[in-house]
């Protein structure tokens, strides 16, 4: 929508132009950024703990090493994550189940943060197809009994291209067919898919708060062009003002190799 409006403006004015300018930004105090995505089944679970950096010249985020991170569920189980260095905290081969509420507690430097997510059920893909060398189609059946939120990801030869976010508000119970975004960024062109390429799709069912985070993240990272949403921070589930998110996701992976 936003790009269409912008395109219309440019089409209309023709004389519009761009230039790089200097903007003097205030630096803010560093804030904690915590990111963790729990997957259905038995997988390694990783949490990264970093801080914000300067806007114009972002440094490689330095991980926070002095933290205690605990993952618990609503069945009374609880485990402490292992510090793997560089701000990474892990649990290896951790098993999860649909319908269970997981809570992540992080305490560092006298501050503590908490976020929860409920593990969704798996929705499986029916078909993954490549047409006309650049159209990648994923088809799946939306379960009618649940409210579902999806993130679709496309990887070509191991490289992550675009993502699609959708919910089933308009599509509940339908067979859903989607063309996966086959671009590196919003302004880049579609990649050709050639014989020999490996095409992988992720059909991720996510919890509602992760979906809210990902959609608002998509809006705010789009900048504030005409018709863009007024700038703001993505809406997340952390208490106490931490950035990032803690989510739960069931992933169905399909792979094809182009003959």
């Amino acid at each position: 929508m936003k790009n269409l409006v912008l395109a219309a403006l440019v089409l209309f004015t023709l004389s519009s132009c761009e230039k790089v300018i200097d903007v003097d930004l205030n630096d803010s105090d560093p804030k904690y950024v915590i990111e963790g995505l729990l997957e259905l089944g038995t997988h390694d679970f990783k949490v990264s703990l970093t801080q914000t950096t300067s806007y114009f010249t972002p440094q490689v985020p330095t991980g926070i090493a002095v933290a205690q991170i605990t993952l618990s569920d609503n069945m009374g189980n609880s485990q402490v994550l292992t510090d793997a260095g560089n701000g990474l905290y892990t649990l290896s081969s951790f098993s999860t189940q649909s319908g269970i509420q997981y809570t992540l507690n992080v305490s560092t430097n006298n501050q503590s943060f908490q976020a929860s997510a409920e593990m969704p059920s798996l929705v499986e893909a029916d078909t993954l197809l490549v047409e006309d060398e650049d159209v990648v189609k994923l088809t799946f059946k939306d379960p009618i009994e649940d409210v579902n939120y999806y993130r679709l990801l496309l990887f070509v030869n191991g490289e992550r291209l675009g993502e699609n976010l959708l919910d089933d508000e308009l599509l509940n119970g339908d067979v859903i067919e989607r063309n996966l975004t086959n671009r590196r960024g919003p302004n880049s062109i579609e990649e050709d898919i050639l014989p020999g390429d490996t095409v992988i799709s992720y059909l991720q069912s996510v919890d509602s708060e992760t979906y809210t985070f990902l959609t608002t993240l998509e809006q705010v990272s789009g900048g504030d062009g005409p018709g863009g949403t007024a700038p703001g921070n993505p809406v997340n589930n952390w208490s106490n003002g931490a950035l990032g998110y803690f989510g739960a996701m069931a992933n169905d992976i399909s792979t094809i190799v182009i003959p």
Partner: protein, 770 residues
């Protein structure tokens, strides 16, 4: 009850100076060349200059005086004054037509009505431009535009390039009531904001009340823009038109029956998109981007006492890309009016008004998905003007509006489910009474009271949300069941104290309730911005404004100076949570947060109205601040419309009767914007982190435009002229947006990019009249 008592008191007060043997002179005043009613022509008693009345918007006046001999002077700027000696021994009817002033024909007429109205009238905070004036102000693509010219006056600010929205005294764009022949126009912009929806050829009078609104107006918190269409020439047929670079327009008018009925029909269309056909790109070739609008009006004089008017407006914008996407939007309004004069003193106007704004988006080759929303109004309105005597003119009346909102629906073919968000209904009403009282030579007072009410009605559902805006429950209501009722008194007061013949002090206090709100979460105005009613969650916006002013005219009204200062308090303001989703969201009210706002400022205007050189210099110093508990940690922040300095210089010089050179220059402080303060990585993306709302400023904006009008042919029967203009004459690269992106030269860093919409834009248009 309270109201009735007030009305009674008012009548007692104004009736106190009733004397015996009074008689009334009444009638209408018209322009002799076109037969158009003159709005605000003055009728003055020469022997007692403080006695007099002005004609109302239908050209009607009524003046009651004691028995005796008088000389009446009928005046209207740019027209010859007429003096009538009368012996008043019974009620009289005097209908007059004022002829063009032959000596002044060549002179640019800047203000209408009485020359010193600025100083002497019981009103302040009024911005007025005449249709004549608009012709000479250079504008983008030579498309003369009343909204753009109004924005050059103090206290009225353009919402920025590519935006027809405007801000009045620190208020938001949706706080302006824009009336076209009494019908509200919900979206005043064409082509994503480059043009206003009003075709100046069809307009007669535009008045903007920035404060001190008369009690007859209500419904918006910040301003009233009252636009009147022409009635159409009742003497002879005429055509006016123009051919420009991107659009053409044509207006036809004339009598149906001479001096009894007349019509006007006006239309225009842009054709910028015809050039797209030349493109080799298939998608661009099949794209469309245009607007058109049609304005029509018919009036019929049934008898000396009765007259009927029918007027309508229809406008549409169309934007499409190939057969994949199309988007169209527009306003429709219609007004049916009946004027009736009871006796000699009571003038009545009854109006039935329809107004609609809607948009529709179609996606897919076979319109697989269609998204639409609309707002519709039916309004029944009754107004009376009672010309009690030479010192008091009373107005009273009321109206009832039935609003219907369709906030959004999706019609889907194929694999999508259709969705329809419940329609919403509301009844809005108002009752008012006001008196314009000339207390003495020095004191004048205009006081009034309005009671407004709003009833949010079924069939619909009331949604309830917790403090975080999460949905709790939904209650359904049947037809005409009240979901929520609001109402309130709106006092209006305007006082004038005349220091001497050429200067005065004025003060005013105004309260306004606003029951409809436009939700807009994006950085510029969009055709999809939604109007919503007040509800169980959304409270009406309330504004209170106090203004003081000093007015002084110099050199026999050749120069006009005014200084006004104001303070405005705004309650129940609306803003949005971060990342709020406003489009097609059933729970949209849960995305809103509420707070307050306040604005204050000082406005200077120096204007030259006569002579070869005319124009004005305007300067506004102002602030507009908002405070929301849920935004910016509860700290006050600058509103989007906060502009500290705003300067406009407008000048027009008549080199000779055929050639007029004009120029204007504007300068204003850049808009308040939100920029990031830090960044972080999440989900493999670099994400900006924002701390303070509107904590930064866009660069200051300035621009100069130059225009030249050459009348190449002028006879009694035919007139044609060429207009050449340069928009942004010194090619200033003003910032439309500033965005951030990864640097191309240094990939791991971010750079700020400024987009400029217009460099220098030359244009030419040809205009004719016969």
């Amino acid at each position: 009850m309270k109201l009735r008592l007030l009305l009674f008191l008012m009548l007692v007060i104004v009736g106190a100076n009733h004397a015996q043997n009074e008689y009334t002179i009444s009638g209408t005043v018209k322009d002799a060349s076109s037969g158009e009613d003159l709005i605000g022509a003055s009728v003055i008693v020469k022997e007692q200059p403080s006695l007099g009345v002005v004609t109302n918007v239908y050209g009607f006046y009524s003046l009651t005086l004691s028995e005796g001999d008088y000389t009446l002077v009928y005046q209207f700027i740019g027209l010859q004054s007429v003096e009538r000696e009368i012996t008043l021994a019974q009620n009289q009817k005097i209908n007059l037509e004022l002829k063009p002033n032959s000596e002044e024909l060549a002179e640019v007429v800047v203000s209408a009505e009485k020359e010193d109205r600025n100083v002497t009238k019981n009103e302040m905070s009024v911005a007025k431009v005449s249709m004549k004036e608009i012709e000479n102000v250079p504008v983008l693509f030579g498309e003369k535009d009343v909204l753009k010219v109004i924005q050059l006056l103090p206290g009225v600010k353009s919402a920025g390039e590519g935006n027809s929205g405007f801000y009045v005294r620190g208020g938001a764009a949706d706080q302006n009531l824009i009336l076209l022949d009494e019908a509200p126009v919900y979206n005043p912009s064409h082509l994503l904001g480059f043009f206003s929806v009003f075709n100046s050829d069809a307009l007669k009078d535009v008045t903007l009340y920035k404060g001190g609104m008369p009690a007859e107006f209500g419904g918006r918190a910040s301003s009233v823009m009252d636009i009147k269409m022409k009635e159409g020439n009742s003497k002879k047929y005429s055509a006016t038109g123009g051919v420009g670079l991107i659009s053409s327009r044509l207006t036809l008018e004339g009598p149906v029956q001479k001096d009894k009925s007349s019509f006007i029909l006006s239309a225009r269309r842009t054709y910028a998109d015809l050039f797209l056909g030349l493109s080799s790109d298939e998608n661009i070739k099949d794209s469309q981007l245009y607007f058109y609008d049609v304005t029509a009006k018919l009036n019929y004089k049934i008898s000396e006492k009765d007259r009927i008017f029918i007027s309508g407006y229809f406008g549409r914008d169309v934007l499409s890309f190939g057969d994949q996407f199309s988007f169209n939007w527009g306003n429709t309004t219609g007004t049916l009016r009946w004027n009736h004069i009871y006796g000699d003193k009571l003038f009545s106007n009854t109006s039935l008004i329809y107004s609609d704004y809607d948009y529709e988006i179609n996606i897919g080759e076979n319109d697989d998905l269609s998204i639409g929303a609309s707002i519709d109004d039916w309004n029944l309105k009754q107004d009376y003007t009672y010309f009690l005597n030479a010192k008091n003119t009373l107005k009273f009346g009321g109206n009832a509006i039935y609003h219907q909102f369709a906030p959004g629906n999706i019609d889907a073919a194929s694999s999508f489910n259709s969705v329809k968000i419940d329609n919403q209904f509301a009844l809005e009403g108002g009752l008012y009474v006001q008196n314009d009282y000339k207390l003495s030579q020095r004191w004048g007072i205009n006081y009034g009271l309005r009671y407004s009410l709003f009833n949010y009605l079924g069939p619909s559902s009331a949604y309830e949300f917790d403090n975080d805006g999460d949905f709790i429950s939904k209650t359904s209501y049947d037809d005409w069941k009240s979901i929520q009722y609001y109402g309130g008194l709106e006092p209006r007061l305007s006082v004038k104290y005349q220091l001497n013949d050429v200067s005065s002090l004025k003060g005013s206090y105004t309260r306004n309730y606003q029951y409809l709100h436009q939700l807009s979460n994006s950085t510029s105005s969009q055709p999809t911005d939604l109007w919503v009613p007040s509800s169980n969650n959304i409270k009406p916006q309330i504004s209170d404004q106090v203004a003081l002013g000093y007015f002084r005219n110099f050199n026999d009204n050749m120069y006009e100076f005014s200084f006004e200062t104001y303070y405005k308090d705004l309650q129940n303001q609306i803003d949005y949570k971060d990342g709020a989703d406003l489009l097609l969201n059933e729970n949209v009210e849960g995305e809103l947060v509420y707070g307050r706002g306040y604005a204050y400022g000082a406005e200077f205007l120096l204007r030259k109205n006569k002579g070869k050189f005319t124009g004005w210099l305007s300067y506004t110093l102002s602030r507009s601040i908002k405070q929301f508990d849920a935004i910016n940690n509860g700290d006050p922040f600058a509103a989007k419309q906060d502009r500290i300095h705003d300067i406009s210089i407008v000048g027009s010089y008549q080199i000779n009767p055929k050639l007029t050179l004009s120029a204007n220059w504007v300068y204003y402080t850049g808009n308040a914007v939100t920029f990031p303060s830090a960044s972080y990585v999440v989900d493999e993306k670099l994400v900006p982190y924002y701390t303070e709302r509107n904590g930064y400023r866009m660069p200051d904006y300035h621009r100069m435009d130059i225009g030249l009008t050459w009348i190449n042919k002028k006879t009694d029967r035919f007139e044609s002229s060429w207009n050449f203009s340069l928009y942004n004459a010194y090619n200033q690269y003003n910032a439309y947006t500033i965005t951030f992106r990864e640097s191309e030269s240094n990939p791991n860093t971010t750079e700020a990019v400024q987009t400029t919409l217009f460099g220098i834009v030359p244009s030419i248009s040809y205009n004719f009249k016969f």
